[in-house]
């Protein structure tokens, strides 16, 4: 639908502007795409679970690590839809409460990484010279490190725990934001409207804050949406290796890690937490894809 000739399309956009249209367009683009809709639904679901988790779980007392060895490793049933784990806790309960942690961690890592990376990137992109060189070299260094290996080493060194896992992942995550915002800033600073602002006598900071940053924000939002999913996955990966949340905190990756020892007979223990990781990462990725469609100026042509 983006194949309308540019001349014709420019024509349309000109006439039909306005915030209302943009919202309608966004809704239309999302609604049009099954994938984006799915993403939205999944993300909404995860967010819902995270918000309501402790109040809707069937066995709230299982959250804090009760030991009911009499009920251990029960297959899925009406009482325990997803079965029970190795100490007799309801897996559904722990998965639901785990959503809160996963989401928090995903969002936390992403925002922290962006908070470090974006200012650095914009600075590098607009400053130039030795400052830029230093920032980018440093970024390159972190980018060339195998991320998961580095994170594992770090968590192993600092000791397992969700806090340390987050620190490790933030450390391997921020360079991506430097790269993205730097290049975006590089592109934007060549735009004539930046030159226009300079002609108006705007200071460097003003140009950064008022022109560069707002115009660089769209791809950042898309990246962040996708990164939340990837961060959830990364934390789960650390959890799987045994470097994630501390017991009794319910964490999806750690659950699979433990469940692995109970395969194949107690398959439900590994299958359900994995399914939730998959669905939430899928959700954020699809949503990111959808957001790109919305935020990409090219899609406005239609």
């Amino acid at each position: 639908m983006t194949d309308v000739p540019a001349s014709v399309a420019a024509e349309v956009a000109q006439r039909r502007g306005g915030a209302a249209r943009r919202w309608r367009l966004a809704a239309w683009l999302i609604g049009r795409s099954f994938a984006s809709m799915l993403g939205l639904v999944l993300v909404a679901g995860i967010v819902g679970l995270a918000l309501l988790g402790p109040w809707i779980v069937p066995y709230p007392e299982h959250v804090i690590g009760q030991v009911n060895l009499g009920d251990k490793l029960k297959p899925p049933s009406m009482a325990n839809w997803f079965g029970t784990d190795e100490v007799g806790n309801d897996i559904l309960t722990r998965i639901i409460v785990g959503a809160r942690l996963s989401l928090l961690v995903g969002v936390g890592i992403t925002f922290a990484a962006a908070a470090i990376g974006v200012p650095l990137g914009i600075l590098a992109g607009t400053a130039g010279g030795r400052l830029r060189e230093t920032i980018m070299r440093f970024t390159d260094l972190f980018l060339s490190v195998p991320g998961l290996v580095l994170a594992i080493a770090l968590v192993a060194a600092l000791g397992p725990g969700i806090g340390n896992a987050m620190i490790a992942l933030i450390l391997v995550w921020w360079p991506g934001y430097v790269r993205l915002s730097e290049s975006k800033a590089l592109a934007i600073r060549e735009e004539p409207y930046i030159e226009a602002a300079r002609v108006s006598g705007a200071s460097r900071f003003r140009i950064l804050w008022r022109h560069v940053l707002p115009n660089a924000i769209s791809p950042l939002i898309v990246k962040m949406s996708m990164d939340i999913g990837q961060a959830i996955l990364a934390v789960a990966s650390l959890g799987f290796i045994g470097l994630g949340a501390k017991p009794p905190t319910p964490e999806w990756g750690a659950m699979i890690s433990i469940a692995r020892g109970y395969l194949p007979d107690y398959w439900w223990y590994a299958v359900f937490p994995g399914l939730f990781i998959y669905l939430s990462v899928l959700g954020f990725n699809l949503l990111g894809d959808g957001l790109r469609d919305i935020l990409d100026p090219r899609s406005h042509r239609t």
């Binding site: 030991v67 060895l69 490793l73 100490v87 501390k246 433990i258 020892g261 109970y262 194949p264």
Partner: protein
């Protein structure tokens, strides 16, 4: 060796070709053959990075060391007995300082060299000089120059002072061929580098293939000097140790008869596996004690009443439940098979009333503090026990922070009372049956080592421990240990928890599986094993 049946290759090839009709080709496979002899395949999760018997040991390493090397003596059976091996007999001088070993004359190294007194002397000297692995057992009592090869078949050891446990350690000191070692020495490294992946032993097996992290393949020595108990006809062709880290594939491998014996079965697996036809699950009372060591110097646990309270609040039944009943609660600080073990009458068992009572007596009558519980990263049982501890102490309003740490971090923390965690879960496998092995962890000299993490302080007990190891009168000695056991329970430097049963799974055609608790957790002795089918 060349006429091995390569049936598996063929079948796997077929599977890889995507022959959809070839359902489960692996299940049709029986034990491996080598010519008309059979190969026994054993699987466990732990690698064997270094084969050198004087450098290091752990269960998997020692299992291979035990197979390719011989010791002067050997542990067998349960309760463990020490039987003569390379030494046909030994004598102790009355002052308890001199031991004279007489070697069997017919033992030969794999390259044909005879196992003589010089080899024994060299081996002990090498171990002491390397000051690694087993060296700690005798280092404080035996100087290399005090080992003398009197003649070809006689070796004399002179200890600096009497040391009662001496004989119980000797089986772990393997004899290496000095000629081979010396021939492969580089820069005076005592052959360390070469010995990492090669053997110079006289044991029943010789090394065929050594792949530290995936597979070790040994062939039986046909004319082993000590013969083969199952008879030449049934003698195996060889023994393969296959390292499979994950338990699920390990189980699958046993089910599909890819392996014949597997170690590292969890109690939960046990029940599932028992139902598999053709699989035999065995479990034996263990020797490895699991304890939760308190920090007796710093923090709330420095207060003996707090320790007592926790010991009484602890849910011992949960521990048994975690092991599906395949564990035995400690009845004393010493594991049952230890010589001199006595059941201490008032071992704590779960009793919340008593727990609260003790807590009331402490400086923290209402709880309200948090304790760190540290276990080795990746170990499942201590984690679950931690969970049950957390659940149990909730009733005393004591919070538990379960922390998994890598081993070196734990040992580093254990080194000082200031950094030692409030509770540290520790498995201790005594290397011998002598009570000193267990008791000495509570001595002042053990402070700074991981098993001294409690920093337990009781000079009277320390004195008893020190005296007991030099005491040559067995009766007197045992009385001292009985007293030590009681005192330890009274001071409660740790929750003396349980001994988990040792579990193996095997195909039902495996014969003469010999258990001896003195071996480490999953370690087996491949020597008597054979396959009947």
């Amino acid at each position: 060796m060349t006429n091995r049946v390569n049936r598996r290759h063929f079948l796997q090839g077929a599977a890889a070709l995507g022959a959809a009709g070839t359902f489960a080709p692996f299940s049709s496979v029986a034990f491996e053959r080598d010519g008309n002899r059979k190969i026994l395949v054993f699987t466990g999760n732990q690698a064997v990075p270094v084969l050198d018997p004087h450098w290091r040991y752990d269960w998997s390493t020692r299992m291979i060391q035990q197979s390719v090397y011989d010791g002067l003596l050997k542990y067998v059976g349960t309760p463990p007995k020490i039987i003569p091996w390379l030494a046909e007999k030994y004598e102790m001088s009355p002052d308890g300082k001199t031991y004279t070993f007489t070697l069997v004359g017919n033992a030969k190294f794999h390259n044909g060299d005879p196992v003589d007194a010089e080899a024994v002397r060299y081996s002990f000297e090498r171990a002491l000089k390397m000051n690694a692995g087993v060296a700690w057992m005798l280092k404080a009592f035996l100087k290399p120059e005090n080992i003398v090869a009197v003649d070809a078949r006689t070796v004399k050891f002179t200890l600096d002072r009497p040391y009662a446990p001496f004989i119980t350690y000797v089986p772990w000191w393997y004899i290496v061929n000095p000629k081979q070692v010396k021939a492969n020495e580089v820069d005076g490294d005592l052959g360390k580098k070469w010995m990492t992946e090669h053997e110079a032993g006289s044991g029943p097996f010789k090394l065929r293939r050594f792949d530290a992290t995936s597979l070790i393949h040994m062939d039986t020595v046909p004319d082993y000097w000590n013969g083969w108990p199952m008879g030449e006809k049934n003698r195996l062709s060889g023994f393969i140790y296959r390292i499979i880290r994950e338990s699920a594939p390990r189980k699958a491998a046993l089910q599909r008869r890819e392996v014949d014996v597997m170690a590292g079965v969890t109690p939960d697996d046990f029940q599932q596996m028992e139902k598999v036809p053709g699989v035999k699950m065995v479990n034996f009372p263990g020797f490895t004690s699991f304890g939760i060591k308190f920090n007796c110097q710093v923090g709330p646990t420095a207060d003996v009443n707090v320790r007592k309270a926790i010991a009484y609040a602890f849910d011992y039944d949960a521990v048994l439940a975690i092991h599906n009943g395949m564990a035995e609660l400690m009845t004393s600080p010493f594991p049952t098979p230890i010589t001199g073990h006595v059941a201490v009458p008032d071992m704590p068992r779960r009793d919340m009333a008593k727990a609260k009572e003790y807590l009331k007596k402490s400086k923290y009558p209402d709880g309200g503090f948090e304790l760190e519980y540290v276990h080795v990263q990746g170990l499942e049982d201590p984690r679950r026990i931690g969970l049950s501890l957390l659940d149990a102490l909730r009733q005393l309003d004591i919070k538990v922070n379960i922390v998994a740490q890598p081993w070196p971090t734990m040992t580093a923390r254990a080194g000082k009372a200031e950094t030692a965690p409030a509770m540290m879960s520790v498995y201790v496998t005594p290397v011998g049956t002598d009570p000193d092995t267990v008791a000495y962890q509570y001595h002042r000299n053990s402070w700074g080592l991981y098993y001294g993490v409690s920093h337990y302080e009781n000079p009277a007990v320390w004195q008893l421990i020190a005296d007991a190891r030099g005491e040559t009168d067995t009766a007197k000695r045992m009385a001292m240990y009985a007293e030590i056991q009681k005192a330890l329970v009274a001071d409660q430097p740790e929750i003396f928890c349980m001994m988990a049963n040792r579990i193996w799974g095997m195909r039902d055609y495996v014969r003469d599986f010999a258990y001896s608790p003195v071996r480490s957790t999953s370690e087996i002795d491949p020597y008597p094993l054979w396959i009947e089918a």
